[in-house]
Symmetry: C2
Subunit: 103 residues, 2 copies
């Protein structure tokens, strides 16, 4: 549910998206991409929620691990389908987590 991240610093990819009207195949691919991301070097965890928009935040140990994941072959195919079919719009923000706390 919550990502079990280490002590900062680490990195976050904040992905905010609005789905299109054609989401066939989306859920299966989203689950596959999370399974695949979990196998990447530097992956620390992921948190996701969707209502009017979706927000998925994945956590990574370095910018290099984020770059490598962005270039991963199956992930690139999924990104292309996302741009062409599933997403009406999205924002990606790459950020360095400097401080964190919990309840």
């Amino acid at each position: 549910m919550f990502a079990n991240t280490p002590k900062p610093p680490y990195y976050a990819v904040i992905f905010s998206s609005e789905l299109s009207d054609d989401v066939s195949g989306y859920e299966v691919m989203a689950e596959q991409m999370i399974t695949l991301a979990e196998q990447q070097p530097g992956f620390l965890g992921v948190e996701s929620a969707r209502s009017e928009i979706g927000i998925t935040v994945s956590y990574w140990s370095s910018l290099e691990s984020i770059r490598t994941w962005k270039q991963q072959t199956q992930h690139r195919q999924a990104q292309q389908l996302g741009r062409d079919q599933w997403y009406r719009d999205f924002r990606v923000r790459i950020a360095r987590v400097e401080h964190d706390y919990s309840l």
Copy 2:
């Protein structure tokens, strides 16, 4: 829907939360806090989604503006109610956005 943020760098507060069984008053307070946050110096925008967990990402021009908002009197009262009543658990991560792009 999406926050209309400026060119990086700027800051993100990633707030991930699981609600308790007692959410009376929560929605009204959440809306009030967004209205209040919008009036704070350095506020740049906010994005929010909730399904199993909620993720709210607010964007700020500086760490100082985040600190000031955390100490704001009405916001402190809301934080206390959140800890005592509304949230079963939460995570807060403060991050420096270094790069962003969109569809």
